[in-house]
């Protein structure tokens, strides 16, 4: 990313976290760790950046309960671990760190989710990125297919030129976890827009039907909630090549959330929204009204679905009128549909009818 800090800066920021705990103990108090509240109630729209960022609300984690105290101790272990990696020029995956924590005694993580969250906590407090911490996710990015060419620095230190249509197999170009310019360059393209697709099934259907060539687009498989690198490369393609981005997902509250993380920024990563979010992205479908308009096979909303929709009503990212309508409508009809339910009308319906109609509305087909 463009804002990689120097190792010394990173250490300094981390030491501030440690010093907060230390100073409290010197004063005869319980050690603490102060961090921004990471809920939807504490994200606000940053009009300068066009994305959602954390607000001013802070929460204090103090060592008066066993759980919080263990969190503080873990944070210290993580800080020590990061410093070690910085000093020895190594990096590790979050999962590796989780396993390494087995040897941390009382500071051992309970689950990998714990270790991921703590890494994020430190990112948020220090305003560093996990790349600064030499930590990387083990989750790979997604796949891309389309007539676009990328230059990637391979592990032998050589730049490889890859065309995501001609140089790849059916599974497409695999996006690496680091997509910053020192690792990946966007060379050239001959497409009109980028389409991000939620499910692998639909991604494969469009490829089999040759949709990328027929409609001159790049297809990105999101794999559910998209990884940071996926969101980052979408943003780079959109900005550097000035391409519109459309998002094609299921019609359910979780898909709405996926779209929000691409377009507005995710709640969990709101500290780096300006690097990950693509404010210009458009939600293509499946929309709530599509369920009715196309008479799609559908499922009843579950309790959790309804809860998620109700919660989205008070999510600042969904305040715009169109989204309110979508959410209200879904609650009203009480139904959700998958992308692949379009197959009701045959395998080609999605490429021959549905997408052209939807893209037509946007002036892209």
């Amino acid at each position: 990313m463009s804002r990689v800090r120097s190792n010394e800066q990173t250490k300094e920021h981390l030491h501030k976290v440690v010093a907060e705990m230390y100073d409290k103990m010197v004063k005869g108090e319980a050690p603490t760790m102060t961090l921004p509240v990471r809920t939807k109630n504490n994200i606000t729209f940053d009009s300068k950046l066009g994305v959602y960022k954390y607000g001013k609300r802070k929460s204090v984690r103090d060592a008066t309960s066993l759980g919080s105290a263990k969190q503080l101790l873990r944070a210290l272990h993580v800080v020590e671990f990061i410093e070690d990696m910085i000093d020895s020029g190594k990096s590790s995956t979050l999962r590796e760190m989780y396993y390494i924590s087995e040897g941390w005694g009382y500071g051992k993580f309970g689950s990998q989710n714990d270790s991921n969250n703590l890494a994020e906590d430190l990112e948020v407090i220090t305003k560093c990125m996990r790349e600064d911490f030499k930590l990387r996710p083990e989750e790979d990015g997604s796949r891309i297919i389309g007539n676009l060419t990328i230059n990637e620095l391979n592990r032998r230190g050589e730049w490889m030129r890859i065309n995501a249509r001609d140089d790849v197999g059916d599974s497409g170009y695999g996006v690496p976890y680091n997509v910053e310019s020192e690792k990946l360059e966007l060379l050239e393209h001959d497409i009109d827009f980028i389409m991000a697709i939620e499910t692998g099934g639909m991604f494969d259907r469009l490829i089999e039907n040759g949709f990328d060539e027929d409609y001159r687009c790049g297809l990105v498989h999101l794999k559910g909630q998209p990884a940071r690198s996926t969101r980052r490369i979408i943003k780079r393609m959109s900005e550097e090549w000035d391409l519109p981005v459309v998002v094609f997902t299921d019609a359910d509250p979780w898909s709405f959330r996926i779209f929000a993380s691409i377009a507005f920024g995710a709640i969990k990563t709101a500290h780096i929204s300006e690097y990950l979010a693509t404010p210009s992205a458009t939600y293509l479908g499946v929309t709530s009204d599509d369920i009715l308009a196309y008479d799609l096979p559908s499922d009843e909303l579950s309790k959790q679905d309804i809860q998620a929709l109700e919660s989205q009503k008070s999510d600042p990212r969904f305040t715009d009128g169109w989204w309110r309508e979508q959410i209200e409508m879904m609650l009203e009809i009480g139904k959700k549909s998958e992308q692949q339910s379009l197959a009701k009308y045959g395998l080609d319906f999605v490429t021959d009818t549905y997408l052209p109609e939807k893209l037509g509305e946007l002036g892209l087909a």
Binding site: E29, A30, L76
Partner: protein
């Protein structure tokens, strides 16, 4: 009693085998599965009873072997170390149906429920045609006697064969005394809730003094060891109490008694009848048509049928005295078919006046008299006449206008006082020392050995009386891991130490469990009613001289309000203990967490942060005080294998910023015979079972330790010590002392230690039958925390 009489009379007409065949459903031999359990039950009950009578700690072995799976032939072997049976009595014991002494004696015995060991011999013979082998050794003889017992069904007599003298060795040791019964039966072995295994397991719970081994058909051995050397108390038999007597029984008793008069018969053949009561009963029972000689002087054998019936009505409290009419002195008479006295109220009120006005205005004398009669349960004709005459002379016979009715009302209210009360002949409660409860600590042990779990609470209620029968309820609850959390709790029902395994739903004891609202005590209870769910087992034991069953199958207890209430109260008390335990466990968990926090985590944070920043490790004492900001008590109660003592260590930490002064109090099983040893801190006795130590002032950050040992206990007797405190500011891990309760217990102890005067004074002990006798406030009933330790 019913069966014995039935059988005795029926035996004269029908052959014993015919009778057995006809009645096997209620003798417990109805299905092949149940027959096996019943046969073993009869054998084991016999063994336990015999051992108890001979004061021998029972060691019992039960074996079940499949002999012929196709024809469902099973061999059972029951071996005990009891007194054995002398050679000449073996035939009688095994061949005689239901003539055991237990059917006449009123006392708590296992044998109330069943046909006895003869049933096994008979079932063996009926289903396989074979005989039952008996090996018996009595201590005074050097060799055992072995014989095969069969039944001569025509003459209803046992016949022996193959008699010989044998050497009896068990595990290569010579058996000192005992009995070994080997029988072959048509039966089916099954596992599960209604199995031999479950029967023996339950038996071992309520017989903690017994050592029981079971070998199943696959050769698998289950062993329930003896957990106490204490034999159950020897129970005395008592005379019947009039409240529990039926007509037929009274008739028979009158026939066979040697007492010269009815009043001495009542006085000496029954319990609870004083000389005065005997005389009163006779007076009340006397009928108009009775012979001239007063009933109490008559010979028991000469009492007529109607008089016996009348006497039973007096026994049942249906006949009695009317007392207190118009303040006159007590006057004996009896009332037939008495209803509830006291109508229309305690005092004739204004309301009464209004009612009379509205009912009688415009009416006449006949209506007024009818009104009085309708609204009074008991009255004398002469007093009604008095009232009638008065009204007639002053107001006339009516119809009356309003003013006249007002006058009538006045006379009625003045003359007619409905404050008459009906009184039964006062009887004393029967003695309760005929009961042998298992007692709290032993139930606890029994439960703990059969179920591996954490928390056990047991309660033995004080004896109570219902219909002249003394009874006592005991309950136990075991809770914790090792039991399924999502299914109904296991119910273990017992009557006089005998497991009840069938008809759980229809049993009074089950109903009492279901009636309790367990939710408030921390167990799940869907719908707020019914059997609770959770990792728990509930034990209920009814000890009684007369256990009432719903049917001859003798597997479910019949409804009885007094017993039900007792059982429910016991459950609730136990529930409160469970609730307390759960709350305590939660608190302990929290305390444990806090200690982990300050002992392990905080120092690690200090060390790590200092290391990263390359600064000195900070002093943590102030941080610890600010994190804990509490006084904390920890207590360990552990069994010391070497000294055979129970060691207790109490630690008090002051993690506050102020100095604190406390007295610490701990419960210990003083009443159970424990001794307090190695108590170096000293202290003093607070009340029985509670010791107090006054601690020196604890400065911030200081701690203090109290250690002592408890002697005279067995392993598992005392596993948790409850501690209390006196002083300002909470202590986590201890409860604040309830001073009121301490005073109450102290007063109670003082009262108990004073000699009881007027022990012979009847009036002070008389208890009216119809009310459930309030549980005598005995020691043991009141404890600091309700009996759980």
């Amino acid at each position: 009693m019913g069966i014995a009489d039935d059988l005795a009379s029926k035996q004269k007409q029908a052959s014993i085998s015919e009778f057995f065949e006809k009645n096997k459903h209620f003798l417990g031999f109805d299905t092949l599965q149940r027959s096996l359990i019943t046969a073993i039950k009869e054998g084991v009950d016999n063994s336990l009873d015999a051992c108890e009578e001979a004061r021998i700690l029972p060691t019992i072995r039960v074996e079940v072997k499949k002999v012929d799976s196709k024809r469902d032939i099973i061999e059972i072997v029951i071996v005990d170390n009891g007194p054995g049976i002398p050679r000449d009595s073996i035939e009688k014991v095994f061949g005689q149906l239901l003539f055991g002494s237990r059917f006449h004696a009123i006392r708590q015995s296992r044998g109330q429920q069943g046909i006895g060991i003869t049933g096994v011999v008979m079932y063996n013979q009926l289903t396989t045609g074979g005989t039952t082998n008996v090996v018996s050794k009595i201590a005074s003889e050097s060799m055992a006697v072995s014989m095969d017992i069969g039944l001569d069904t025509k003459r209803n007599k046992a016949k022996k064969s193959n008699e010989s003298r044998v050497l009896w060795n068990e595990d290569e040791d010579e058996q000192a005394s005992g009995l070994k019964v080997t029988a072959r039966l048509k039966a089916k072995y099954q596992k599960g809730r209604q199995s031999v295994w479950q029967y023996l397991r339950m038996t071992s719970i309520v017989n903690p003094h017994a050592d029981i081994t079971f070998i199943d058909p696959d050769g698998e051995v289950s062993h329930w060891p003896r957990v106490t050397e204490r034999l159950p108390r020897k129970v005395d038999s008592i005379k019947p109490h009039p409240r529990g007597i039926e007509l037929g029984q009274l008739r028979r008793m009158l026939e066979i008694t040697k007492q010269p008069s009815l009043s001495s018969f009542l006085r000496f053949e029954f319990s609870g009848v004083s000389t005065r009561a005997a005389k009163e009963m006779c007076e009340v029972a006397e009928l108009a048509e009775s012979p001239k000689i007063h009933l109490h002087k008559r010979k028991p054998s000469g009492i007529k049928k109607e008089e016996i019936r009348s006497l039973v009505e007096v026994f049942q409290g249906q006949k009695g005295f009317i007392k207190g009419y118009r303040g006159s002195k007590e006057k004996h008479t009896y009332v037939e078919g008495a209803k509830k006295p006291g109508m229309p109220g305690e005092k004739v009120s204004d309301l009464m006046h209004k009612t009379i006005m509205s009912e009688l205005t415009g009416k006449g004398i006949d209506d007024a008299i009818a009104y009085v009669k309708n609204h009074t349960d008991f009255y004398w004709e002469e007093s009604i006449q008095e009232l009638e005459e008065k009204i007639l002379s002053k107001v006339g016979e009516g119809p009356w206008d309003e003013n006249q009715t007002d006058l009538v009302s006045k006379y009625m209210r003045r003359e007619w006082d409905p404050r008459v009360t009906f009184q039964e002949v006062k009887l004393l409660n029967p003695p309760t020392d005929c009961l042998s409860p298992i007692e709290e600590m032993l139930i606890k042990k029994g439960l703990s050995k059969a179920i591996d779990s954490r928390f056990v609470s047991t309660i033995t209620r004080s004896p109570n009386v219902s219909h002249g029968n003394p009874f006592q309820i005991e309950v136990g609850l075991i809770f914790g891991k090792g039991m399924p959390a999502d299914s109904h709790v296991e119910v273990l029902r017992f009557a006089n130490r005998v497991p009840l395994m069938y008809q759980q739903g229809g049993c009074l004891l089950t109903k009492a469990i279901e009636e309790v609202s367990w939710k408030q005590y921390g167990l799940e209870q869907p719908g707020g009613k019914g059997l609770p769910k959770g990792p728990a087992a509930v034990l209920v034991h009814l000890a009684s001289t007369n256990v009432q069953f719903t049917s001859e199958a003798k597997e479910a207890l019949a409804d009885n309000e007094v017993v039900f209430e007792e059982a429910k109260k016991a459950m609730q008390e136990m529930g409160r203990n469970l609730k307390k335990h759960l709350a305590k466990r939660k608190k302990l968990e929290k305390t444990r967490e806090k200690f982990e926090l300050i002992n392990d985590i905080l120092p690690a944070i200090a060390e790590k942060s200092a290391g990263i920043l390359e600064r000195p490790i900070p002093d943590l004492s102030k941080s610890i005080t600010s994190i804990m900001s509490a006084v904390i008590a920890e207590c360990d109660t552990t069994w010391n294998k070497e000294t055979k003592n129970t060691d207790v260590e109490i630690r008090i930490f002051n993690y506050t910023s102020r100095s604190r002064a406390y007295s610490i109090l701990a419960k210990w099983p003083e009443k159970e015979g424990a001794t307090l040893e190695n108590n170096e801190v000293g202290g003093r006795k607070e009340v029985t079972g509670v010791w107090t130590w006054k601690l020196p002032t604890l400065e911030p950050g200081q701690q203090y330790k109290i250690t002592y040992s408890l002697g005279g206990l067995e392993k598992g007797d005392w596993t948790e010590t409850e501690i209390f405190y006196r002083g300002s500011g909470d202590i986590i891990g201890a409860m604040e002392m309830d001073e009121k309760l301490v005073k109450q217990i102290r007063d109670q102890e003082k009262a108990e230690s004073e000699p009881v005067v007027n022990e012979e004074n009847e009036t002070s002990q008389e208890v009216e039958h119809s009310e459930p006798a309030s549980p005598p406030k005995e020691k043991g009933q009141m404890t600091l925390t309700g009996g759980d330790f």
